[in-house]
Amino acid sequence: MQDRPTANELLEAIGDLLEKEVMPALKGPVQHQVRVAANLARVLEREVELAAPLEAREIALLADVLGEDVGARTAEELSRELTRRLDAKLDPVLEQRSWLALLEIVRGKLSISKPGYDAFDFADELEA
């Protein structure tokens, strides 16, 4: 066990420093870079908190689509296998099940990288 502050608490301190102290003292391209860095500290804060359960869920979803046992492979390996199968032959059932699983997985990633981004659903612009 690491001593306090936790990773989360340190990231919060780093984010506050960048956003409240460093950014206002800068201008131009460097200020923009620091703004981005501050935002990344916020992303990492959420990642520390949320990543483990989300990754477990991602593995479960992918394994289910692929018909595999959970625990045999990592999320990246399962993703690679899914892209391979999607490319191998046209399988409408696999595509539809993939779409549903991928939507949940992507929403999970967004809850870390950009909460609220998935509130917009393009509903009015889809019909051809």
Binding site: L40, L86, W99, L102, L110, S113, F122
Partner: protein, 334 residues
């Protein structure tokens, strides 16, 4: 070419020859200084008459995307067709003046930064819809340029749909991490590809909020013609309507400014032939390409070719484009 004074003297020398008489350079300022090109604003005075100009300079010819003469010819053709392209006053590929090729265009006042554009629109009732409609008109006019007059060196695939698919496939195969979402999208795009366009048109290639000069009277000019090419005209509205150019004003499809109906009315009103299915195809294709472009930026940071916190952060934006794609594909799979 370093200081503003050198620039001043070089531009005076260039314009005095070009305009056959002594020209004075006044009120010079740097508008933007990117790695690929920089924009310098100034007034040129000849015979007591001031002309507000912009010099678009490629720092050195080696990084040029297309010859300046080709880019300038696109602006001239678009302007002649009635599109709001800045007037080209002079162009040269001769590096002896400014160290690289450049062209001079009329300087047009107004807002270009998307957040400021959206603020202006919020303050002026009806302005956003007007800009969306004018964007449609501008695109129809750009696309109406007579293909036989287009510069022979303008790039463009013979079969733009096939080329877009192959280009996206190459990006897909080069991803650092697998993205089943991008694979699903590519396969859908491949299966639902429209026919190749009967006639290719001059395509702007980056027509979007951020490359438009607007004022409280509406659209004043279309900028950044460096990726123009011969292609499928519906590629342009498809790109303009990407979510990323709405800058959080998500419900207005055209750059956060207006609706697709506004854009289409302008396009058709100016004689353009709108093809809805083709538009939607290019919209999804643009989203896929941008998503893989962001992944590519992260890869460029990671392999050390472009170390930058901005490029690194792009990797964590990929999920946004994956989400957009899944939503655009909802009618097929949802």
């Amino acid at each position: 070419m370093s200081g503003l004074q050198d620039l001043d003297a070089a531009l005076a020398r260039f314009l005095s020859t070009e305009w056959a008489g002594p020209v004075e350079i006044l009120d010079m300022g740097i508008a933007s200084a990117g790695a690929r090109r920089r924009n310098v604003l100034f007034d040129a005075r000849k015979d007591g008459f001031r002309t507000p100009l912009v010099a678009t300079i490629i720092p050195n010819a080696a990084i040029q995307v297309m010859p300046m003469e080709v880019e300038a010819s696109n602006l001239r053709l678009a302007e002649a067709a009635g599109a709001p392209a800045p007037h080209v006053h002079a162009v040269t590929d001769d590096p002896s003046f400014l160290g690289g090729p450049f062209f001079l265009t009329s300087r047009i006042e107004g807002e270009t930064i998307p957040r400021r554009v959206l603020r202006l629109v919020a303050e002026n009732e009806g302005l956003g819809a007007r800009i969306a409609r004018q964007s449609g008109e501008a695109l129809a006019r750009i696309h109406s340029v007579d293909p036989t007059k287009i510069h022979p060196d303008l790039p463009g695939a013979e079969a733009p749909i096939e080329a877009a698919l192959l280009g996206a496939r190459a990006l897909l195969d080069g991803l650092l991490q697998p993205s089943p979402t991008f694979t699903l999208a590519w396969n859908w795009l491949e299966r639902n590809r429209p026919s190749e366009p009967v006639q290719r048109a001059l395509v702007h290639g980056d027509f979007r909020n951020g490359n438009l000069i607007v004022g409280d009277d509406g659209l004043r000019a279309v900028l950044d013609w460096e990726v123009a090419h011969l292609g499928d005209p519906m590629e342009d509205p498809g790109w303009l309507c990407q979510r990323m150019w709405r800058f959080r004003n998500d419900s207005l499809e055209v750059g956060g400014l207006g609706t697709r109906a506004d854009l289409r009315a302008g396009y058709e009103g100016a004689g353009g032939q709108w093809d809805e299915a083709r538009f939607l195809w290019w919209k999804s294709m643009g989203t896929l390409k941008w998503g893989m472009g962001l992944a590519g930026q992260a890869a460029a940071h990671l392999n050390g070719s472009v170390p930058s916190i901005i490029m690194a952060a792009s990797g964590r934006r990929v999920a946004e484009l994956e989400y957009d794609l899944l939503m655009l594909l909802k009618p097929a799979f949802g």
